[in-house]
């Protein structure tokens, strides 16, 4: 204990504080993670026990997962979601990167104005363009196909363009100049220098879009009518509606379907966890 005010507390106090922090954090962890464990458990219970809140089911009923298969073409939906997700994420990553490089490397007339326009579209709610865009796809005859779920991604998305541009701006200009002197074309600058150096950012954009696409309910609701074309969230909504909310209360089947819709993303997250979390942190700093 030295002078008052700035006295470093005796050893016990920080340890106690540290322990208290951990207790609060563990409680929060329980709040975040336990519902997922509850979901796994509920999906394995018989109908009468779904609400009993036991973590270990009294009776394990694997047949829920068989019945889910009969409730809808779940495997098909999963595949559809994977296809749409990969198309959406790939398209948006490539197109946004191209556009972002255009705005980052070149100096041209109206650049500021155009980039301002890019940014301002971020504030535009999707609802404003939703109906006319539907009419466009309808006119082309692509309603009730999966193309409208990813087609727009071919043209880049404002937020990703902004994000990737920030990363491209971080590449030292001398690298580009040197490559130019060595006879590298503009597309070469993009592909051989900008892209490899910003790979983490590209991964982030890809994962973000994959996650958004995997979770999206509204577009599949608008564009898909044939159950075989449904994505997983759309199919899940249908199972919930017809098996649980219709008055039959087969929540065990709805929960099995919910687990099936959730698990792939959790597994993907397990693999790319570091990448994703660090990416969010850096991308926010760029923003």
């Amino acid at each position: 204990m030295s002078g008052p005010g700035l006295a470093p507390s005796p050893r016990l106090a920080p340890r106690l504080a540290h322990a208290a922090y951990l207790v609060v954090l563990l409680a929060a962890t329980a709040a975040f993670v336990y519902p997922l464990l509850w979901l796994v458990s509920a999906s394995l219970k018989p109908k009468s026990e779904v609400f009993d809140n036991r973590l270990i089911p009294r009776h394990v009923q694997w047949s829920n997962f068989v019945e889910v298969w009969q409730a809808g073409p779940v495997l098909r939906w999963l595949l559809n979601s994977v296809t749409v997700g990969i198309m959406a994420a790939t398209a948006v990553t490539i197109s946004s990167a191209l556009v972002a490089f255009g705005f980052a490397y070149f100096r041209f007339r109206f650049r500021g104005l155009l980039f301002g326009l890019v940014l301002s579209t971020m504030m535009l709610p999707g609802a404003v363009t939703m109906i006319p865009v539907y009419l466009i796809w309808n006119r082309i005859g692509l309603v009730d196909t999966q193309v409208p779920l990813w087609g727009q991604n071919l043209f880049g998305t404002a937020f990703y363009i902004f994000l990737l541009r920030q990363f491209f701006l971080g590449v030292p200009r001398e690298l580009f100049e040197a490559a130019r002197v060595d006879g590298c074309g503009y597309f070469g600058l993009f592909r051989r220098i900008a892209l490899p150096l910003c790979r983490p950012a590209l991964v982030i954009v890809f994962v973000f879009e994959l996650k958004a696409s995997w979770s999206d309910l509204m577009k599949p609701l608008i564009y898909l009518q044939t159950p075989e074309y449904f994505t997983m969230p759309r199919g899940l909504k249908q199972i919930i509606d017809s098996y649980a909310l219709s008055g039959e209360y087969h929540w065990e089947i709805a929960m099995a379907a919910t687990l099936i819709a959730t698990l792939p993303m959790i597994i993907a997250f397990a693999f790319a966890q570091r990448h994703i979390l660090d990416g969010i942190a850096t991308s926010a700093r760029q923003g």
């Binding site: 005010g5 922090y21 609060v24 954090l25 962890t29 975040f32 993670v33 336990y34 519902p35 997922l36 509850w38 779904v50 609400f51 009993d52 809140n53 197109s95 556009v99 255009g102 070149f106 007339r109 650049r111 155009l114 504030m123 535009l124 709610p125 609802a127 404003v128 939703m130 109906i131 006319p132 727009q152 363009i161 074309g185 503009y186 597309f187 993009f190 996650k211 995997w214 979770s215 509204m218 609701l221 608008i222 997983m232 969230p233 899940l236 909504k237 919930i240 509606d241 909310l245 008055g247 709805a254 919910t258 819709a261 959730t262 993303m265 959790i266 993907a268 997250f269 942190a281 926010a284």
Partner: protein
């Protein structure tokens, strides 16, 4: 793209060379030009090629549809049958439609619950995370996990967890002697239920705050401590100003997202089976807009609703920017 660019570039090259036949002063100018002006033209052309996807997309999927939507909002367009111009009738109807007022109110209440509570909870957890050293990696992962859950799945799950009689949430509340409400059926508790689903999946915000807090220079804390600032004052006078940019960013994006919330409300309370029983207390604006556009096919009216939403989001964001700029501390180069 590469094949597309290459001939363009050689075209530019040829263009530059053709000037070599000019008389001397012109040739000199052309030489200078090859490095300066024509290079500039080539660069501009390449730049436009790179941004072409966005330009096309903007015209076809943003500017055009915006215009179309504006026009539609003055008609009674309904996908089939005849379309008439109805002047400002749709907008007049917006003012009179009780479900518009109700759904707007619901949306505001939901946003007013979710955004402030979410921001505070996320800040608190991020502050704690910053203090537990290496363990923060584990917690960070755990907190983010629910965000990977599709919104439909999270909503379905919470429909059960929030069950009034036997749900897990009320069971836990019961341990503390609290008699939990009928979250999913009591009209007064529908919006808090929706906010709770969103709170569960807001790990991204925590991750952002944690990164911002870790970025605050140590010396600032040391200086504050030397000046006799306790933990509370250090939080309000060092941490909060230094991370205000991140907080501001998430508040704006979370607000915009909250005003457009759809998936959770639609999954929990709407669908073919529920139309009859659905209470308007859970009707958020986007759900009502979606119903008008794609279930009742009142596309003109729905377009007017969309423009109303746009104006509201614009106003709220502008107010937030105005207020935010007074409080947000930007460091040197970040403007």
């Amino acid at each position: 793209m590469g094949e597309l660019l290459a001939p363009r570039e050689s075209l530019g090259e040829a263009h530059g060379r053709s000037r070599a036949s000019l008389p001397l002063p012109g040739r000199l100018a052309a030489r200078g030009g090859r490095r300066g002006q024509s290079n500039q033209a080539r660069e501009t052309r390449a730049a436009w090629m790179f941004i072409a996807p966005w330009v096309v997309g903007f015209l076809v999927f943003t500017a055009g549809p915006m215009l179309a939507s504006l026009v539609l909002s003055f008609t009674d367009y309904s996908l089939v049958g005849q379309t008439r111009g109805v002047g400002a009738d749709n907008y007049r109807q917006l003012l009179e439609d009780p479900r518009v007022a109700q759904s707007l109110l619901n949306t505001f209440v939901y946003a007013a619950l979710f955004v402030p509570v979410g921001t505070c909870v996320a800040l608190g957890l991020a502050m704690l995370l910053a203090r537990v050293g290496r363990a923060s990696g584990f917690f960070r992962t755990a907190f983010y996990l629910p965000e990977m859950t599709p919104a439909v799945a999270a909503a379905a799950l919470f429909l059960l967890l929030l069950n009034g009689q036997t749900g897990l949430v009320n069971t836990v509340l019961g341990w503390f002697g609290i008699d939990g409400p009928n979250w999913t059926t009591d009209p007064n508790w529908l919006k808090p239920s929706l906010a709770m689903v969103s709170l569960w999946s807001m790990g991204g915000t925590i991750v952002i705050y944690l990164a911002a807090i870790k970025n605050v220079p140590r010396q600032l804390y040391e200086a504050a401590q030397l000046d006799g600032a306790g933990p509370v004052r250090r939080f309000f006078h060092v941490t909060l100003p230094m991370i205000s940019g991140a907080v501001f960013f998430t508040v704006i994006t979370n607000t915009i997202a909250a005003l457009q919330m759809f998936d959770q409300a639609y999954t929990m309370f709407y669908g073919p089976q529920q139309k009859a029983t659905a209470s308007d207390e859970s009707l958020v604006f986007m759900v009502y807009l979606f119903q008008n556009a794609f279930q009742y096919f009142k596309m003109g009216y729905a377009s007017a609703m969309a423009w109303l939403l746009f104006v509201i989001i614009l106003l709220i964001t502008l107010v937030q920017l105005r207020v935010g700029n007074r409080f947000v501390h930007y460091e040197g180069d970040q403007r």
